[in-house]
Amino acid sequence: MGRKAPGQLPDRRQKLSPRKGMKKAVETPPASRHSPYSEDGVDRTLVRWMLSLSPAERLQVLQNNVGAILRLRRDTTQFPIDSADTSTKRG
């Protein structure tokens, strides 16, 4: 049990458990009070950032996002990841 098999990752649980005399790790604040996410998973920081912009700036953000997605889609079509360097993986 105690010996580590070749290639096996070391068991770090012992190192991570608090040693005698060590202070207990600081607990993270309750999610409802400090998390950037609402309980249904919406990033509130993103909402507040968007609300800080003018309508024209919000539209620009959307246009940038759509442009980035379309460029990514075009590039993926031109250079599909699946076809990249398959020669070494086959045979």
């Binding site: 998973g41 919406v42 990033d43 909402v47 507040r48 609300l51 919000r58 959307l62």
Partner: protein
């Protein structure tokens, strides 16, 4: 303007690819729309109808005309939700300037949420969560 872009203009951090408009189906406005769609090269984007131009009779219907234009996808909606047309919605809009003196009428966030809730599909449900949070953040806390 209704749909995702109207949500974005009011601060919702969502991404959408089409522009949704509920248009007035008055004969005069239909003429203006037909004239505006021509230079945009508007055609239906539904499979099997990609060469078909929108015509007056289509735009007079309460249905949804899903078009592709040179500027991108454009949805002209006769009605939305449970049959709300332009005349029902116009009082629930707010005017916004989106640059260079260009002003548009946008369906208020509260009403957009109500309408989406009426007929929400899976895509709408995901957007609704963000729209509700945006409205919550916008609304001054008492």
């Amino acid at each position: 303007m209704v749909g995702g872009v109207s949500g974005v203009l009011q601060g919702a951090p969502i991404t959408t690819f089409d522009l949704d408009i509920v248009h007035s189906r008055d004969p005069e406005n239909i003429e203006r729309l037909i004239a505006a769609l021509e230079p945009l090269g508007a055609r239906y984007r539904t499979p099997g109808a990609k060469e078909i131009k929108p015509e007056r009779s289509h735009l007079q219907s309460p249905g949804h005309q899903l078009l592709m234009t040179r500027g991108g996808p454009l949805d002209l909606l006769g009605t939305i939700g449970h049959g709300h047309g332009y005349d029902d919605l116009i009082d629930q809009t707010t005017e916004m300037e989106i640059g260079k003196g260009l002003r548009i009428r946008v369906l208020k966030l509260e009403t957009l949420i109500e309408v989406k809730e009426e007929t929400a599909g899976e895509k709408d449900k995901a957007a609704l969560i963000i729209l509700r949070r945006t409205l919550q953040e916008k609304t001054p806390k008492s």
